[in-house]
């Protein structure tokens, strides 16, 4: 009962001109929790992160981090948070190591503490080899890792990650996911924004779907997926294949109901969402001597989630009835640029 929530917002609002970026946002994340803030571009994700990290003042409502008000106790909040924005905020002309030391010193570490911590993080994020090179020579994935390292240098209790994997190749994305999981395991409270349902599912312990600046659905990833529906696999058999044998194979891969269409030689079934599942099904069918002409996996996309939860598409469209339907064209409206 007595524990202070790591992140808490109540009826938070913020508008930029006539654009309502936040329209009564309510969030609560317990200490050690991982909240995935899921929404399309312009839903208000970045604005929420900017308010919570003291970069932007809300118009009304309350926001607290570890019990500290982000407006009245902003200085205190900054002692406890780390922020990794959408674009790696680093000095291109400094080396990776110099960037970390600088940010460590600005984050109230002594010079020697900052050095020690920088080397530790460089090693942990596999950047030791590049530590002495100017950041402008880094690849996209390396920059993101260094940026994340920079936000960790002061050992923050609450970490904000704004679209940490947007624009990364699958390999770098997997590395980022691994790092994020490790941080979570160490007990860091995380708020991460994402446009990908899969990412929220993989990383978050709770998910809040936001649209037009407010939460439209929240719960655990499983609860959310139950609302939206699961991944489905569709297997198209080659002419003359044994449908019954194929059904038996697919049944072995799922606990859901397997539907078979004898006239089309097609099987569809819900399937667990995990990497490599398609390959497993194909191998099993092959081993059973079933000849397959096509296998497709369909996952509920963010569009599906939105369609189901909000009744409209995720992409901004002309407001049907004015009011809060108008979404900002970009979320950078409040950014310094």
């Amino acid at each position: 009962m007595g524990e202070i929530p790591a992140i808490e917002t109540e009826r938070l609002t913020k508008s930029f001109g006539s654009t309502q970026a936040l329209s009564g946002l309510d969030l609560a994340v317990p200490q050690g929790g991982i909240l995935g803030l899921l929404g399309p571009n312009g839903a208000g994700k970045t604005t929420a992160v900017r308010v919570l990290t003291t970069l932007l003042r809300p118009d009304s409502g309350q926001a607290r981090v570890l019990g500290f008000d982000v407006v009245r106790q902003a200085a205190e909040v900054r002692h406890h948070i780390g922020l990794t924005g959408q674009y790696a905020a680093l000095d291109d002309y400094l080396t990776g190591r110099a960037n970390l030391i600088m940010i460590g010193q600005l984050g109230r570490l002594s010079r020697s503490q900052a050095r020690r911590r920088a080397d530790e993080l460089l090693a942990r994020f596999d950047l030791t080899g590049a530590a002495g090179r100017a950041v402008k020579t880094y690849s996209g994935g390396m920059r993101r890792r260094l940026d994340l390292a920079a936000s960790l240098i002061g050992r923050p209790e609450v970490l904000f990650l704004d679209e940490p994997t947007t624009g990364l190749d699958p390999n770098s994305r997997a590395v980022m996911w691994e790092i994020i999981r490790e941080l979570a395991a160490e007990g860091t409270t995380l708020l991460l924004t994402t446009q990908y349902l899969e990412e929220a599912d993989q990383l978050a312990s709770q998910v809040a779907v936001i649209d037009a600046g407010r939460v439209v659905a929240d719960g655990t990833p499983d609860q959310l997926k139950a609302k939206v529906g699961e991944d489905r696999i569709a297997v198209q058999l080659a002419p003359g294949s044994d449908l019954a044998a194929a059904v038996a194979v697919v049944r072995g891969q799922t606990t859901g109901r397997v539907e078979a269409d004898p006239s089309q030689l097609q099987i569809t079934a819900p399937i667990p969402a995990r990497d490599g599942i398609t390959t497993d099904v194909v191998r099993a069918l092959d081993a059973a001597g079933v000849r397959v002409s096509d296998v497709t996996l369909s996952r509920p996309s963010l569009d599906d989630v939105f369609m189901i939860l909000t009744g409209h598409r995720a992409a901004p469209e002309p407001a049907p009835a004015g009011g809060d339907a108008g979404q900002p064209a970009t979320e950078q409206g409040g950014a310094a640029a």
Binding site: G2, I4, P5, E8, D26, A28, R50, T53, T54, L55, L56, R57, R64, L66, G67, F68, Q73, A75, E76, R78, H79, I81, L83, G85, Q86, Y87, A88, A89, L90, D91, D92, Y93, L94, A98, M102, I103, Q105, L106, G107, R108, A134, A150, G154, A335, A336, A337
Partner: protein, 282 residues
């Protein structure tokens, strides 16, 4: 929704002296960061090294012969006071460009999310720019010596001339800092800097005595701070200073005028830049 009662979190004890120590440390870290770029890429210093050298050569050997000095005197010796003023004013657009760049890259947002002292970002930048001004001033003096410019006064007077020039230069970087807070792209900062800087430098006695200008332009040129700075340097170095025969107050008291202009620039643009910086959180 159930209301959550929150017990007030303990507030970190803050002492003034501790804050001051952190401010100094933050400013040092940030100034060092800006200067580190120069060490890695010395070509970024071209605007305070190559550019003044080109201007000195251009005016000394191309235009200078056609510019008569009222009361006589060597144009090469006259030129250096004006060149010092120009070199210092030329760094202000650089301040703006650097700040706009840090703003748009998100780096300043990162600084603002850290417990860093609020004014350290601007102070660190302007102090780094002061260091580049010292380098630029040394380059101008060096090339001046090469073309025959000499100091004919005491060491104290010469030191006062350099001191006044750098004071004005530093005050001027805060104008650049304000532009950096208002403009949206480094290109815009670069262009606006040029548009402001060109008339400021050329409608002055930096390169040409004001006596030859049309009557309506003379008061503008005489009250231009660039004229006061050039005249103060010439007078303190013991170089030809035709402005001494101009009746306007700043030309009669150029040292005081430079002090006054510097004080006004600092009093107006330092708090304005800090305010604009904080307003970014609106």
């Amino acid at each position: 929704m159930t209301a959550v009662t929150i017990s007030p979190a303990p507030v970190r004890p803050v002492s003034r002296r501790r804050n001051l120590r952190w401010l100094i440390s933050d400013v040092a870290v940030l100034a060092k960061r800006s200067l580190a770029r120069i060490a890695r890429e010395p070509e970024t210093l071209m605007d305070v090294t190559i550019q003044p050298i080109l201007f000195v050569l251009l005016f000394a050997f191309v235009f200078g012969g056609a510019i008569p000095l009222p009361g006589g005197g060597n144009y090469h010796e006259y030129l250096i006071g004006g060149m010092l003023a120009m070199g210092l004013a030329a760094t202000a657009p650089g301040t703006a460009v650097a700040l706009v760049t840090d703003m748009s890259s998100g780096l300043i947002d990162r600084f603002r999310s850290l417990p860093t002292s609020r004014s350290a970002v601007l102070a660190g930048r302007t102090i780094a720019d002061l260091v580049t001004q010292v380098i630029g001033t040394a380059v101008v003096a060096g090339v001046g010596l090469a073309i025959g410019w000499r100091i004919h006064s005491s060491v104290a007077d010469a030191a006062a001339a350099f001191g006044l020039a750098l004071l004005f230069g530093y005050a001027f970087t805060w104008l650049g800092a304000c532009l950096g807070m208002v403009l949206r792209s480094p290109e815009a900062a670069q262009q606006l800097g040029f548009v402001l800087f060109l008339p400021l430098t050329f409608v002055s006695n930096a390169f040409v005595p004001t006596q030859g200008m049309p009557g309506w332009l003379q008061p503008i040129a005489e009250w231009n701070p660039m004229s006061a700075l050039a005249a103060a340097s010439r007078s303190l170095f013991g170089n030809p200073n035709p402005a001494a025969s101009v009746q306007a107050w700043p030309m009669q008291h150029p040292e005081l005028a430079v002090l006054g202009w510097s004080a006004v620039l600092l009093a107006v643009f330092t708090p304005l830049a800090v305010r604009l910086y904080h307003r970014k959180a609106r």
